[in-house]
């Protein structure tokens, strides 16, 4: 298909320029003009009030999905314990379900894991679809896809959320292709469109430089994977629901993969995604000596040390402690950014922190735009001074 502008109708309002994800529309002599890099994605079509943007694509009819009900969450478990993402998804699902006046369901797959159902209900599940089978003990792509395919076809949910973990990012695309629906990856925001009642899925694109909101109008369930650490966990104590058992028939030869061994590598310290306080360092910290001071500050504040991509690449902190678009998203109570300029890729991972402190010697560093409190100064003076004063404080209390 192609997209073109009826120049006579164009009012030069620039709405389409803003809407174009590819920067492929410019204003020339007061009229919109489509450039060569247009991908015909159609994002500009609806924003034009003058109907000046035209396409040769035939209008598509949106099928009737009024029988599609329920917000589903894939409750990821490993070794019989629930992943935190399962509870985060249930938190978001409650919010969506209230708006839609529908119910929240959790999908629990594994072997002898029925004891987890109660926890799922205590965090928002109105009911739990339980599939237990020795072949589901550890996650395997085809086995899990098969079971979820059966559940989706039988119960016809409206929305299906899966965590964007290494398991979820393997499973969700496979399920989406199998049941014939679209899928939006790594969402950081989910809302219901008040007019259409559809799920609006917002996610970072182009390495976090742009946020894109995506709709899934032509297929159900509306599927998203959701970035861990972004959604809030909401407890619903006393909530009770039904456990609906799904009979599992799996043939080993249909699965195609065998797990020979699972190796857990030992982790030091607390997972930064769950830390209450994070002391993060960037290029400005200098080196290992600088990080030792941050370490000291972290101990005093009861927190963990994290950092930017650069300091991970330099081997100053472990990969698991990287914050940002290619690392982890965190939402601690307190985030102290030391010597971090605040590139958009980094900010994307820490903007949900409750309070942010920025320490940097460059007053124009973008990190100050997201900080609650900024200190412009040499962190080699400021951080040791903080350590000093906090130690004095502790002495004073004894």
């Amino acid at each position: 298909m192609t997209v073109w502008i009826e120049v006579d109708l164009c009012s030069g309002c620039k709405r389409c320029i803003k809407a174009c994800p590819y920067g492929a529309i410019e204003l020339k002599e007061g009229k919109a003009c489509i450039l060569e890099r247009c991908t015909s994605c159609g994002a500009c079509l609806d924003v034009c009030k003058e109907k000046a943007i035209q396409t040769d694509a035939e209008p598509r009819t949106i099928p009737d999905f009024s029988d599609r009900k329920g917000v589903w969450v894939f409750a990821e478990q490993r070794d019989g314990s629930l992943s935190r993402i399962a509870l985060e998804l249930l938190g978001k699902a409650q919010d969506l379900a209230v708006t839609l006046n529908q119910k929240v369901s959790a999908l629990l797959l594994g072997d002898r894991i029925s004891n987890l159902s109660g926890t799922l209900m205590a965090y928002g599940a109105d009911n739990v679809y339980l599939a237990e089978h020795p072949g589901l003990k550890d996650y395997r792509t085809n086995a899990y896809t098969r079971v979820i395919e059966e559940l989706v076809n039988q119960y016809k949910p409206n929305i299906l959320l899966i965590g964007a973990t290494h398991v979820g990012r393997d499973l969700a695309p496979r399920v989406s292709r199998r049941v014939g629906v679209g899928l939006t990856a790594d969402c950081t925001e989910l809302t219901i469109d008040p007019e259409e009642g559809i799920l609006l899925q917002t996610r970072p694109a182009f390495g976090g430089n742009v946020m894109a909101t995506i709709a899934n109008r032509y297929s159900r369930p509306q599927m998203s994977t959701v970035r861990p650490g972004v959604m809030e966990v909401l407890e619903t104590p006393g909530n009770k629901g039904d456990v609906i058992r799904h009979e599992v028939k799996l043939k080993e030869e249909d699965i195609g993969t065998k797990i020979l061994e699972i190796v857990r590598e030992e982790k030091k310290g607390v997972d930064i995604a769950e830390a209450k306080v994070i002391i993060a360092g960037g290029r400005g910290v200098g080196g290992a000596d600088g990080f030792r001071v941050l370490e000291e500050l972290a101990i005093l504040l009861g927190g963990e040390v994290a950092g930017t991509r650069i300091v991970v690449e330099e081997g100053l902190i472990p990969v698991g402690n990287q914050v940002g678009q290619t690392g982890k998203s965190v939402r601690p109570e307190l985030y102290v950014a030391c010597g971090i300029s605040g590139a958009i890729q980094h900010r994307a991972g820490m903007m949900n922190s409750r309070y942010i402190v920025a320490i940097n010697n460059d007053p124009r560093a973008p990190i100050f735009q997201v900080a609650d409190w900024g200190i412009i100064g040499d962190l080699n003076q400021v951080v040791p001074e903080m350590v000093e004063q906090l130690k004095e404080d502790i002495k004073g209390q004894v």
């Binding site: 290494h166 990012r169 699972i262 200190i375 400021v382 004063q389």
Partner: protein, 263 residues
């Protein structure tokens, strides 16, 4: 061993900047590169071929300029390449893209392995590998960080997890999506790269007609998801810059942290 490598040409997002006035992406002067994870996929294919023979076919969907990425892949040791290019393919989401790539792989015919990068840096979805695998009805292993062994009808690989890895034996033919940890990609061989530029024998262009697909099955029209709007991320807070000598600023800060019960 016949291997198909799926690659994508992407803008180098490390270079992407926003126009401070309009909030739009500045696209001028941004280099197009082979997607970083896909370079590791090419390397994996080339080293597997070196060990056990066979043929490597690269396949990429994109505008005609994608020929640059294909030439580079040929320079790295790929034998044949197919460029899927057609206006009808543009604007595709992962549903339409995986359909198009799946159709092309069916047309190529017999293969033992399909390898691609875990994800592309412009979209970061990591969906195409698993979706193509499902279309082809073959098993997959994603996040592959080591290829241990090829047996008669299976392959043994390590799959990276957040807190370790698992060793998986996967039936062939299979789809692998690979991560940077797997290997160090070689540089393209200059002479091969130049030859590839005009190589009509080993590089073919396929359109929607060649794949026998309808316009409404591919591209924007064949997509199930659509971009509703895009915007620059907003992170602004009502920040306050503390003043004074380092000692004063620090005690001011500690006071505020206490006030908010952070310490």
């Amino acid at each position: 061993m016949n291997i198909i490598v799926m690659i994508k040409q992407v803008p180098d997002t490390a270079d992407v900047k926003l126009d401070p006035k309009t909030g739009n992406l500045i696209r001028e002067g941004i280099e197009s590169i082979i997607n970083p994870d896909d370079r590791h996929a090419i390397e994996a294919a080339v080293s597997l071929k070196a060990a056990s023979g066979g043929k490597i076919t690269a396949i990429s969907m994109g505008p005609p300029q994608t020929i640059d990425a294909i030439s580079e892949a040929m320079g790295m040791g790929v034998d044949n390449a197919i460029l899927l290019t057609d206006m009808a393919f543009s604007g595709a989401d992962t549903w339409a893209t995986s359909f198009t790539l799946g159709k092309a792989i069916e047309k190529i015919g017999k293969y033992d392995l399909v390898i691609c990068g875990r994800q592309a840096i412009d979209g970061d979805t990591a969906q195409i590998g698993p979706q193509v695998a499902d279309y082809l009805d073959i098993p997959q292993v994603s996040y592959v960080c080591e290829i241990e062994e090829i047996r008669e009808q299976t392959i043994v690989v390590k799959r990276r997890l957040e807190d370790g890895f698992e060793r998986i034996e996967c039936n062939l033919p299979a789809m692998l999506t690979v991560i940077g940890e797997l290997n160090t990609p070689r540089y393209a061989h200059m002479a091969r790269l130049i030859d590839a530029c005009n190589d009509k024998v080993h590089i073919k262009e396929w359109s929607s007609a060649d794949l026998g697909v309808q316009a409404n099955e591919v591209g924007l029209e064949g997509s199930l998801t659509h971009v509703v709007k895009t915007f620059a991320p907003k992170f602004q807070r009502q920040g306050e810059t503390l003043e004074g000598k380092p000692k004063e600023m620090v005690s001011d800060l500690i006071g505020r942290l206490k006030e908010n019960r952070l310490i």
